[in-house]
Symmetry: C2
């Protein structure tokens, strides 16, 4: 097996052409004679040539690498987004490097790191919106998932409000007088949108909403929030801001002796893989993570390859994808 890495020069020598011609073949430039191209390609294959990305990046200033920034990757939604982003990027010939915001102090470092690594652009997952602003003005090409619109970057996301309206309408249509909301954390854009959709649907039906109980997305917070809610009211329909909180809610309802859906109907949001195995199986809103990732990558690459400065066509390609109501037993 060959000891050293194969460079263009070696391929060139073997094929009896200049390095430049090898370069042209590697980047399939049209200006190469078919016969020559064939010879070069054979030499590449024989030697097992692989272009050196570092050299290419140095020369062109493009690393063919995308960054993904997230507070954490260990949540259901983020990891599914990541999966989809990774595949989309790979299929377009881009590498993907991930940066998490672990410690709070590291937040401003995150984008620095990204730039050091020479990514051509980055995708930011929801919760980091605030700093995306700084980064964008610092000249990094960005696509942000689930963010309020901002002309410094492209925004892609789920239409959370529409989903929340669908959930609420579904419950009202089933005959419930009102719908109680188990909301997500206040600093989350997605949570705010879902809450807004719920309020809008209630308003449209002419009913005044109770103040929502609030959790932090985690299932345990859902349990506790519902416990609190049950101390003051006796809901017949609950719209939880995500499936995990809904799971906690289901347990709290069971603990209080209520049956779902006979006594209380529950709708979640996300359609996590396990939602169909909850007790009872959870009616929920399915987000199309694959489409989101695909769109985000496409938008980012378009922005990169269109070249130009990042302020050229700022919010181009922003899209909201509507979630789909999946009916199961819980409502």
């Amino acid at each position: 097996m060959s000891q050293r890495r194969v460079s263009m020069a070696m391929v060139a020598e073997r094929a009896g052409v200049s390095g430049q011609t090898v370069s042209r073949v590697a980047n399939d430039s049209p200006k190469v004679d078919p016969a020559t191209r064939a010879r070069v390609e054979q030499a590449m294959a024989e030697l097992g040539y692989r272009p050196n990305r570092a050299a290419r990046a140095l020369r062109t200033g493009r690393s063919q690498t995308l960054g993904l920034v997230a507070q954490t990757l260990a949540t259901v939604g983020n990891s599914r987004m990541l999966q989809s982003v990774a595949e989309s990027a790979a299929s377009r010939g881009y590498a993907l490097t991930v940066v998490t915001l672990g410690a709070e102090a590291a937040i401003d470092q995150a984008f620095d790191r990204l730039r050091d690594q020479g990514v051509d652009g980055a995708i930011v997952l929801n919760e980091a919106t605030a700093l995306a602003r700084d980064a964008a003005s610092a000249g990094l090409r960005l696509v942000v998932i689930d963010s309020p619109p901002d002309d410094r970057f492209t925004v892609i996301g789920t239409d959370h409000a529409a989903g929340a309206r669908a959930a609420t309408v579904h419950l009202l249509a089933a005959g419930h007088r009102t719908v109680h909301h188990l909301a997500g954390p206040v600093d989350s854009f997605a949570a705010a949108e879902r809450e807004r959709g719920w309020r809008e649907a209630l308003a449209a039906a002419g009913v005044a909403p109770d103040e929502p109980a609030r959790g932090d997305w985690g299932s345990e917070s859902g349990y506790r929030a519902l416990e609190r809610m049950l101390r003051t009211v006796s809901p017949t329909a609950i719209f939880a801001a995500n499936d995990q909180m809904a799971l906690g809610a289901l347990r709290a309802l069971a603990d209080s002796g209520r049956r779902v859906p006979e006594d209380v109907a529950v709708v979640g949001f996300d359609d996590v893989a396990d939602a169909a195995q909850y007790q009872p199986p959870l009616t929920t809103l399915q987000q199309d993570f694959d489409a989101l990732g695909e769109r985000a990558v496409a938008a980012l690459i378009a922005r990169i390859e269109q070249g130009g400065d990042s302020s050229a066509s700022p919010a181009a390609g922003g899209v909201l994808i509507e979630p789909r109501l999946v009916r199961r037993r819980s409502a």
Copy 2:
């Protein structure tokens, strides 16, 4: 704001030294006068200098980048590993690029891609063990998580068998005559180890195991596997190979009118975030993903920085981390 990227030459000029000295400061070589160093550092700060990774990689042959290979990242275990690996790598100054094996055909391409991107080494998550062999012999420095020992790469993992024994012993100690197993897929090393531990514990207690029911890790497969099991036997104690299958099992038991833990005790494996909100809260084995990721990164970097050929100290640093039994209501 400065238009172009700041290079060493600019810093050198501003500090009145040669580029070489700037390089020494950037890599904090000891051979530089404190006063000079201070001047250079100030110049760096004023100009906002950031070393160019591509150039460095080209020159040194090291990219300060690690790869992570996984079949998918959208599972609970893998995403938690990823999170931990990402943070460990970042804290040691390495970037992390992820490669998923999406399509089957892409399997052999995955490692090629990794090498193209010039990673210094890679961490492989369990299910991809088979190809790790090829990659390792192809000269890539590897750490594999949850794999049978192999002298071509370092192996780090959870001691699945020990966890399974603990679960089984726990159930036997509670007075159950035998323990039924809800096993994972046959091609998974972790699943095989968990099954082995279960068999060993039963053997030690002198009871002959029933053939395990088998699922694919998913909660729905757990539901169906348990349904099948209930057609032939009436278990009093079940050890499920992971929490998600346990979730499906809980629902199947509820559907069949059995109470947990009164009629049937259930133990899972993983301690996913939601396990405490299952009905009833699930007794399970907690894997220390953070420790795994940390160790894996440490082992890989050690191997990289020790330099030398990859066959030098092959299986160095392999570690098994024992999971911890978390007792909740289900058993």
